[in-house]
């Protein structure tokens, strides 16, 4: 299980960085999303995966005696997913707006000479 996740993280990071380095705006967006997912799985992996041991304490015991699954990484990932969902939806709208305004998907075309405004 761990090995698969390690490979998956590697692929997601590599693909994400490759896509970010492309000139297309859509690929930039996809790259950011893949990188974000890679990070989420990284947190999940580094929180030590333990199967079938919920962190629920026996009513008779005062402290944990058994090994248990750490709930914190999942809470972190949940927060990170919600945040990246918000950021991604904003980014999609922004890129769509830029595309509508400039008619191009190439990041190198985003250098219109100065226009004066407030």
């Amino acid at each position: 299980m761990e090995l698969i996740l390690v490979l998956l993280i590697g692929i997601l990071y590599a693909a994400g960085i490759y896509l970010i380095l492309r000139r297309s705006m859509v690929k930039l967006l996809l790259g950011i999303m893949l990188l974000g997912n890679g990070t989420n799985i990284l947190i999940f992996l580094l929180g030590n995966i333990i199967k079938g041991k919920p962190p629920i304490i026996d009513p008779d015991l005062k402290v944990f005696t058994d090994i248990y699954a750490d709930p914190i990484p999942q809470a972190l990932i949940l927060t990170a997913i919600v945040i990246s969902f918000g950021l991604t939806s904003f980014a999609i709208v922004l890129l769509k707006r830029v595309y509508a305004l400039l008619g191009t998907d190439d990041l190198d075309d985003l250098n219109t000479p100065e226009e004066e405004d407030i």
Partner: protein, 502 residues
Amino acid sequence: MIDNQIIATVIVHLFIAIVQLILWRKSTAQRFLSVGGSLLALILAFKLFFKVYDGEILTMNAANWKAPFGIVFVADLFSSTLVVLTSIAGLAVSIFSCVGVGRQRILYGYFPIFHFLMMGLNGAFLTGDIFNLYVWFEVIIISSFVLMTLGGRKSQLEGAVKYMAMNILASTFFLTGIGILYGISGSLNMADLALRIPKIQNQALVEITATFFLIGFGIKSAVFPLYFWLPSSYHTPPSAVAATFGGLLTKVGIYALFRVFSLLFIPNHFTKELLVILAILTILTGAFGALIKTNIRRLFSYLIVCHIGFMIGGLGLYSKWALLGAIFYLIHDIMVKTNLFLMAGVIRQLRGTMDMNKLGGLYAQYPKISLLFAIVLFSLVGIPPLSGFWPKIYLFKDAFQLEKYAFAGALIIGSFITLYVIAKMWAQVFWKDTPQPEIIEDKFVKMIGYRKTMLLLPVIILASASLYIGFNAEAIIHVADQIATQLLDTSPYINAVLGGQN
């Protein structure tokens, strides 16, 4: 000591933003609320500052979960000083926005988003939990995305794409760092991490984690070679927004670097060298970039980059006096950089352009305003006894003491080029005759009295703050000295958070 008043400023800004959302499209009510709320936040910030002034460290456990298990808010002198500075800058920008931001932008929710941004800034300064810091950073960047794109002009959107991509990337790096850190140490509380990190067997992995944090915060604070998004986006939004960004957003990155590298990852020889080299290159590239720009705001953007190097260098030297100088510079820089962009906004109202080639003759037409601007520009350059001068003494002193001659040289070149650029700008904008008087579009003359006051009052507030920093340097040095001591000896911080149980 536990004190729930720590997050008062955060709550004030949250409350204002929510009320303003209810008062959607009622621009006058929003203006009054914004200025009143910022004033209240400033008073609360000062109250907090005087509580921690004598070295006490206040904490607050969210939902009463004891540290290190819950999220903890910590107010030491460093945090509360920055909260005060943020509140002063916030008040100034809020007053300026009432007139300086177009009616359409206000109708589309400029003020609520501005207060969400201020809330994020205050939260980032006050939190004592590394993941909570990430969340505050996200609050900051999502608000800043909206502020940057509000209005939807072409150049704004182009700048926003670069800004957005780099900032999301920075957050991803930061989050990766947090993930690894949690994996190797099992804690998220910064005080708890400070105790656990030295005990970790695999110190090489700790250094890699530190690099993730350095890259993440480096992008946010515009350190060489990660600063390119800044000059290509900061000149696009309205001046009030640019002032908030230029004065405060990069400084949050600096604050986070100082906090993380003094508390979690005590810099070793390699990290120190790396930070100093980055600082030298940041100063030089920023300064040379500023040389060739003719648009005032682009020029100021490069000066932001240049002066970020001064603070990073102070952190890289990591001695008491250098840290003192860097923190003094941070205090001075927030006031001055915010003011520079507000001044650019005023110049735009006076002349309808921010291109130096088309500007001129401001001194002849508006001598009093020009003299006000001169105070700010002199403070920026650091003419003694104004505020930019004092921190440089400490930075120079320790750069020579620790034999970092390249950094001392970069400081001299950076300061000198700043002087040259500002002198050039002064000659072009204020002294030169107006090249084409017929194209001048002076909105300022036609304004009624109170609108003129609303534009100039924030510049006066920030200029007086700069003057106070310059003329009462002893008090600021005392504050910066205490902050530097707290950064170098973190045991009071750790004890305050963990309640002395270790």
